[in-house]
Symmetry: C2
Subunit: 453 residues, 2 copies
């Protein structure tokens, strides 16, 4: 039931059991954990511990744990699993899930898998394999439970009872059946509660929901997730251009999409990605982070270059050196606020031609109000600190310009990046910092040079 | 079906219709949109447009739209709705949802609501009202569809058919029934597909799932969401300490929790919150953002103060002023990478006493590798730029120390904040920047003063 256990509380006793050579104690810790939980627990362990614990994961869960984990760890774990165990465990997952994994599995395992698959399964596998992972097609299950529109509820129930007796596993997470016509066109959806509670002699056609939300296989997973969330869907059909039913997306897949999105966004802002293992091997981890540090070093050196242009001014008036980081930092903060609001609006489908100009105007107004307020305040502070009202005014005015630059860049960059098909959540921040740093510093040092020296 | 329409594409034609006085054209744009979509559409409109469109939202949807929107907008919209319409529309939402809204509704409306509520409804309302919104109790519905363990499937079906005939609305999003004993203790869960497909003469007890994941009313919504995601749940029971069933949480509520979490995290990093309307009134918007700018101004001035300590050194060697922002910025970036990894690990329940020291060691190692690499590179760059190998070495060494400071602070701060019950996602960033700025600058300017001057 895992009501109050925290995953991290398992890391220590498991490590301890390994150290004390009490291997028999390890399995019980894993019992009752879901595959996603085991994946996360293993991810939280240093490599040596991980490798020792992995063999204790039950064969039924191995496939699903691999599915729940990220590419890097998946590779590592798959490589350290016996081929026969891998093949057996993969038999426990659905073929559409297998299609998500296959890039990361050894070729021999895939060959062995396709030997044991039935003809129907192989066909399904081939269907799903070709859709990109981040599309509706990549998300869907193909075991869509269907019924015909012209049969009675009673016979639908009888059919499912026969299926169960023949043990032809029913799809997981079933809340409704897809209703199709003779040619497998989607015509509606029959919620299970309707199947149970409506008159059993009624024909499906008369009690089903006629216009269900449906998706096409190439729609992006982010779009699908948004519609699921907006419409409180538990499952939805995927149809081709002729409205033939080809699959079914369930809400548990949508939750994974949402988790991954949030993760990607969070990690992306620090130049990281999901393959960033908590205890990944040092060199590759360092290399990935080094790339981001390098990009930012470039940005920092561009700012340094701007400062270098005013070397002579700083030599004469060292207060400039003291105050310049303040201008750059405030411009950056104001910009990141606008950037966040606009990037979020884009992701929520709220910003377009109809309101962008108004939004820009709104952000500039906020920038103006805050800019003027803080400019007045810091002018005073600078006057008190350095005793020069001229320096105070130059500093305040530059701060105002910096904050406005931030607001304008923060609004325009994400829209422009979106147009260029670059994810604004990932690239927006660096671009913004570069702009606010350079413009803010240039304004401050430039106007100081002109007016004060 | 809204397959390819983008919400923002509706803003322009609706605004246009309003300008041209074609009021009759507005309703059709809203038709077919879910309440969540209408809420987001309205949020994307400037205030004057919003106020004109709001009356065209159908009375059935008004309550749900209010529910989907955020506090600020909710207040505004509720105030501009006729009391009678508000009361009627609130009749369309569930009492547990009403409990989420009630803080934002005018007292007269609440009084009118409690007049029209039945006794049972009022009791349910009182039960839910007392749980915090961000707890399992605040999330749950109290219309839990239950069955007794000792009846046959056939009679369960008959019961639900009678319910339907009497039009006593069945709960939404039903995938399973909660199984209880005579004293309303939870004993299991009966998935609808089992109800349909198992032998109809079987007793519930023999076919139900016996140990369902369940929650207690005071568990945090974040914990509940994590378990739902980890275990692919569609719904789950909420029980009190004596295992009495008191409600049911459904996955659509969990999706809202996840959306809100991601939102909060994203906005929080820029010192914003969800009430940050895209077109909120200028002064309150500016004020909220000003607070964050103020916090950051303080940080910036603390860094400026450190620089000020070395005024004399900068006067003698202006290259220090040019290079110092580079040290501070790189230390900040390295720190934010570690901070992100650790904060995420905490949220995913992966970090605890068992692995924190190893994690700290791991992060320091990455910092060391990257620090040494970039230190060597920038030393060379600085030597080439300024022609002083001493300056290059001082700069490189400070960069290394800065990056290490970032790694250590990035690992320790979120853990410490978590201990102090402060959300590390919100406060971590500012604290980190303050530390990396001050330590980085102090190291660089201090060692330069000692060694170079």
């Amino acid at each position: 039931m895992l009501k109050d256990t925290r995953l991290y509380q398992l890391v220590e006793p498991i490590t301890k059991a390994l150290e004390d050579n009490r291997q028999a104690d390890i399995r019980p810790f894993l019992d009752g954990l879901s595959s996603a939980e085991i994946a996360r627990l293993i991810d939280a362990m240093p490599k040596e511990t991980r490798q020792l614990v992995w063999p204790y994961v039950s064969t039924e869960q191995v496939g699903e744990v691999l599915l729940s984990t990220h590419k890097k760890l998946r590779h590592e774990l798959a490589r350290s699993t016996q081929e026969s165990i891998l093949v057996e465990s993969l038999g426990h997952i659905q073929v559409d899930e297998l299609a998500d994994l296959d890039d990361d599995l050894p070729a021999e395992v895939l060959n062995a898998m396709s030997m044991v698959m039935g003809e129907q399964q192989r066909q399904r596998y081939e269907t799903v394999k070709d859709y990109p992972d981040n599309s509706a097609g990549g998300l869907m299950n193909i075991d869509a439970a269907t019924v015909r529109a012209d049969v009675t509820l009673k016979s639908v129930q009888r059919y499912y009872r026969r299926l169960r007796v023949r043990e032809e596993g029913l799809p997981e997470h079933l809340d409704s059946l897809m209703v199709v016509d003779r040619c497998h066109h989607l015509v509606g959806i029959l919620p299970l509660i309707t199947l149970v509670s409506a008159d059993q002699n009624a024909v499906v056609d008369t009690v089903m929901q006629k216009v269900p939300s449906s998706f096409t296989p190439l729609q992006s997973d982010a779009d699908v997730a948004r519609v699921f969330a907006d419409r409180d869907l538990l499952s939805a059909p995927v149809v081709d251009e002729d409205n033939h039913l080809i699959g079914r997306i369930t809400v548990d897949d949508i939750i994974d999409v949402m988790r991954n999105q949030a993760d990607k966004e969070l990690l992306g802002r620090a130049g990281l990605d999901k393959s960033e293992l908590m205890f990944g091997p040092l060199l590759p981890s360092s290399l990935r982070r080094a790339l981001w540090l390098g990009v930012n070093l470039l940005t920092a050196f561009m700012a340094a270059w701007v400062i270098g242009l005013f070397e002579a001014s700083i030599e004469k008036l060292v207060a400039l050196a003291i105050l310049m980081p303040v201008v750059a930092s405030m411009a950056g903060i104001a910009g990141s606020q606008t950037l966040t609001v606009v990037t979020r609006g884009i992701a929520l489908d709220q910003i377009g031609r109809g309101n962008f100009v108004k939004l820009l105007y709104h952000e500039i107004s906020i920038g103006l109000i805050n800019g003027v307020f803080w400019a007045l305040l810091v002018s005073l502070v600078v006057y008190l600190w350095f005793g020069s009202w001229k320096l105070g005014i130059v500093f305040g005015a530059s701060l105002l310009i910096g904050i406005l630059t931030g607001a304008i860049s923060g609004a325009i960059f994400p829209i422009a990046l979106k147009r260029m098909k670059i994810d604004p959540a990932l690239a927006g921040g660096v671009l913004l910092t570069t702009a606010t740093d350079m413009i803010g510093l240039f304004c401050f040092l430039g106007s100081a040079t002109l007016i004060l020296l």
